[in-house]
């Protein structure tokens, strides 16, 4: 066939196909590849004939397989190996692993060791929560979801709070992290956890440094809370956003509490409350298998946690569905209060402003996070003042043969479970990890779908919508690295609206700070 | 780019000939091997001999590199314990050999592929027996392919 005729035929074919495709009503919005994100996340939104969102899939597309490749490793290596699940919250894994080792070898660390661990742990929580507020979640509120995209990022935050304050934030975080390294060796991937205690003593000089920085930390947090009140709580638009139904889910909540049902991040009972706020269950960490189950979907590498006795009923909420939530909002919901003075006041204010317990508004996580920040810094102060901190007895040597161990802590992003089975020599035979963000995975998927359905109508996707979709899951401060034991995650998005033939109709880009650009 | 050829060109099924790399100590095993040759003893031609001044010179890196570059087996020959020209060298060999064996087991490499023999300068027959025996054992195991054949690799499959 002569070339022109072939070309003309080819052209006619293309045009015909395009017409046929344009007539085909199904639409798909793919958010891929995602930028502004630690690791990868992906969202596929499908519209029906009327242009309404039929289904949205929130996918986490990576897996490294920690639960498999730790098999054969000595159990005492686990605190340092599992910390590499996530470089943002390595101390959480390190601590859960260390507690699992205590359980594995049936040793109870000396009181000084527990205090050192809890002190370092609260320092880490403070630093991590502050990072999230100022650099990740905060821009949504400090600068505002409707502010011009160019300002809705960390530079905009600096613009709003001033360069001096920004330096103060950077310096505070640096000082916290230096403290962690002082005891734990390194801030990223600490080394100090051992079964029965910690590796290194706290000297009087070190204790003094802790006391100084702890006091600074409390002041800094009070400032941060004031900032939040001025910028967010006094703004009626923000408050309605927080209280809006679009960002609300009535699920169960889970978190760790002490013997008096107050929030404790390091040790205690795991408590679950129902959507109506009443206690549904309270259990010891080593009983987790009776309560927590994981569900698998073929479209994501993350597994979705749910309450076993309630059952998996799909991505729905309410008392009949086993889906639950963790992290700051959940921890405040499941507890009766905070064990430190200022944090308790902040806790009471939180619930009185938001209309009593439980609070189901996802965006309230940002505020709850600051209440916890205050608790963490006050707790640091308490522990740093303890004279027993510098005691030289920091280890108990194991004598029992290892077999099985479970350790649970509250990571910044939720309840974290490490469970190991070993042979007699202490080599891992099997490991099971329920990692913080997994507990939120189902509710996050629901949040994405709900907001997408609520805001997206037709293929013509308005500019602000991606920000709002992202706000839905950013409030959970997700960590996809943890969730799939794969890569850490926040959710920057690229929304590409495509016709069935693959032609791009619109391209929207969402920044990690929340700003959205239309291409 | 630091890239090594991990799998050599696949050989037709019927003709697998094991490739053994041997590290022989200059003072005994190497001399014995010479003697094997001059005595016209027949032994399998599958061995490439590398002469070192002492079996203790065998850096574990050599052994792993040999496997990585396509050797199907590695043989070390040294002086009998107590007879080392440098006094202690062969004890180092023995300790490293044992730890290497444990590592290779974890890496899924069969035991028969890595062998240590104490052979004195006069023991030409030991050289012949060790080589012949090892070649047959490795022949039975087949080629050491650390990674699958090209067409099975994920680069193509994904």
């Amino acid at each position: 066939m002569p070339e022109e005729k072939e070309q003309a035929l080819h052209q006619a074919w293309q045009e015909g196909a395009a017409r046929a495709n344009a007539g085909y009503v199904r639409r798909r919005i793919t958010i891929d590849p995602i930028t502004r994100l630690e690791g990868h996340g992906k969202i596929d939104i499908f519209l029906d004939e009327a242009g309404q969102v039929e289904r949205a899939y929130f996918q986490v597309p990576e897996l490294r397989g920690f639960e498999k490749f730790v098999q054969g490793r000595p159990a005492e290596d686990m605190p340092q190996i599992t910390s590499r699940i996530c470089g943002v919250c390595p101390t959480a894994h390190h601590m859960a692993a260390t507690k699992a080792l205590d359980n594995l070898y049936r040793v109870d660390p000396p009181p000084t060791a527990k205090k050192i661990r809890e002190l370092v742990y609260n320092t880490f929580m403070a630093e991590d929560h502050a990072l999230h507020f100022y650099f990740l979640g905060g821009p949504d509120f400090v600068v505002g979801p409707d502010a011009p995209p160019a300002e809705r990022n960390v530079l905009g935050v600096i613009g709003k709070i001033g360069i001096e304050t920004a330096r103060r934030v950077i310096a505070m975080r640096r000082r916290w992290r230096e403290l962690i390294a002082l005891v734990a060796g390194k801030a990223v991937h600490p080394v100090f956890g051992l079964p029965g205690g910690v590796a290194k003593r706290v000297t009087p000089e070190m204790q003094k440094q802790f006391q100084e920085v702890a006091a600074e930390g409390v002041e800094f947090t009070k400032f941060t809370l004031h900032l939040f009140e001025d910028v967010v709580l006094k703004n009626t638009d923000y408050v309605s956003l927080i209280l809006s139904d679009l960002y609300t889910h009535r699920t169960y909540y889970m978190g760790m509490v002490d013997d008096r049902n107050r929030v404790n991040l390091y040790d205690g009972w795991v408590r679950v409350v129902a959507p109506d706020g009443k206690e549904w269950k309270k259990f010891r960490p080593d009983q987790y298998l009776e309560t927590i189950a994981e569900h698998v979907e073929p479209w994501s590498y993350v597994k979705f946690c749910y309450l076993k006795q309630v059952g998996w009923k799909g991505f729905t909420e309410g008392p009949e569905s086993g889906i639950y939530s963790v992290a700051p909002l959940a921890r405040l919901n499941v507890s009766n209060g905070m064990s430190t003075t200022l944090a308790q006041k902040a806790y009471e204010k939180f619930f009185s402003v938001l209309g009593g317990k439980p609070v189901h508004h996802t965006l309230a996580n940002h505020w709850a996070r600051l209440v916890e920040l205050l608790y963490a810094t006050e707790r640091m102060k308490e522990l740093a003042a303890d004279p027993q901190l510098t005691d030289p007895t920091i280890r108990v040597l194991p004598t029992e043969k290892p077999r099985e161990g479970i350790g649970v802590v509250e990571a910044p992003r939720g309840t974290l479970v490490h469970h190991y089975q070993t042979d007699e020599n202490g080599l891992i035979q099997k490991a099971n990890l329920i990692v913080a963000t997994q507990n939120n995975a189902a509710r996050m998927a629901m949040s994405v779908e709900k907001v997408a359905k609520g805001l997206i109508s037709g293929a013509d996707v308005p500019e602000g919508v991606l920000n709002r979709v992202e706000m839905a899951f950013r409030a959970y401060d997700p960590c996809h690295g943890c969730a799939t034991h794969s890569l850490p995650g926040s959710m920057p998005l690229l929304v590409r609206v495509r016709s069935q033939s693959g032609q791009t109709l619109a391209l929207l880009r969402r920044d990690f700070d929340g700003s959205v650009h239309r291409e | 780019m630091r890239n090594r050829q991990l799998t050599r060109a696949p050989q037709p099924q019927a003709a697998f000939e094991p490739r053994i790399v041997a590290f022989f100590c200059n003072w005994c095993t190497y001399l014995a091997a010479d003697l094997t040759g001059t005595s016209r003893m027949k032994y399998a031609p599958n061995v490439r001999v590398i002469r070192l001044m002492c079996s203790g010179r065998v850096d574990p890196q050599f052994v792993l590199d040999a496997f990585a570059q396509g050797a199907d087996g590695v043989l070390i020959g040294g002086c009998h314990p107590g007879d080392c020209h440098y006094q202690e060298g062969n004890y180092r060999t023995l300790r490293r050999y044992h730890l290497l064996r444990r590592l290779l087991r974890q890496m899924g490499i069969e035991e028969e592929r890595f062998r240590l023999e104490w052979i004195s300068a006069a023991e030409a027959d030991r050289v012949r027996n060790a080589i012949n025996d090892m070649v047959e054992r490795v022949r039975a195991l087949g080629p050491l392919q650390l990674e699958p054949k090209r067409e099975d690799r994920e680069e193509v499959a994904v």
């Binding site: 990576e62 943002v88 990072l131 950077i170 310096a171 060796g185 390194k186 998996w312 | 044992h98």
Partner: protein
Amino acid sequence: MTPAKPKLAFYWCSSCGGCEETVVDLAEAILDVVAAVEIVFWPVALDFKRNDVEAMPDGSIMATFLNGAIRTAEQEDMARLLRRKSGLLVAFGSCSHLGGIPGLANLFDRESILHAVYLESPSTVNPESVLPLTCHHDKGHTVELPAFHNTVRTLDQIVDVDYYVPGCPPPPRILRTALQTLLEGHLPPKGTVLAPDCALCDECPRQDTKPETLSIAEFKRPQELLIDEKTCLLAQGLTCIGPATRAGCEALCIQGNMPCTGCCGPTSRVQDQGAKILSCLASLVEGKEDAEIDRVLNTIPDPVGTFYRYGLPGSFLRRKKLNEVQAPK
């Protein structure tokens, strides 16, 4: 008119985010960096996406710092793209340099990982044996996930690498020095690891207590003894990888009173770090006969995990022998 600022990019593959934290841990110094360069691509913090990188002229990025091991086709793709667009490609952190801790997955294959996570986990309720699929159809929708390979690879097994910044994570000090070196333009020979080229023992605060000779009758696991805070850890019987590890980290783990685990990789004179530490520790074993030696070696229960914790993909053997391969579903 001020000259254009050199362009810098950061990207991550199969990593944990700890290397990103190192950048943030430059703390106040990061404001100086931001003033001196133009960051054109940094998925964690900035909004640029793949299309922006593709649109850049080849070689226009002065340097890209890439962390994370290479595990998926998507990561390989990005590595190749960034190689094209960058004058210099820097492998940043243990994972891209040596394979890192995710490299321990090279002791297994993809199928066994999927089975362990989705089928064998005691908390997972999965009666229909559902596994994540690379392509899934649900009510007329097609949803995709990237497949991951059987074998984890280092960056230089995929593309040409100019420099390496070692560590897990690289200490901020090493990153600062690396950035200064590149910005000042006094480029070292290609392939240099941007950290001191001597063993950690030379930097260790406890080196004065390191004995001339050592004969170990029993290796100790850290929970088996109260670790002295001043004495050489190897002398205490712990499997400290310091002798086979590059310096530059100020021996932070030793300052935390725990042994070095080898994250900075070897010096330039060693190709396979695990083999070298194996050689070193074996040499110290007390015993001249098989039985004695075996008894001592029983106290190192996991040679590959101890010697190759960070370096398995970058080692000579790279992975455990793989017997069968199945294509991803």
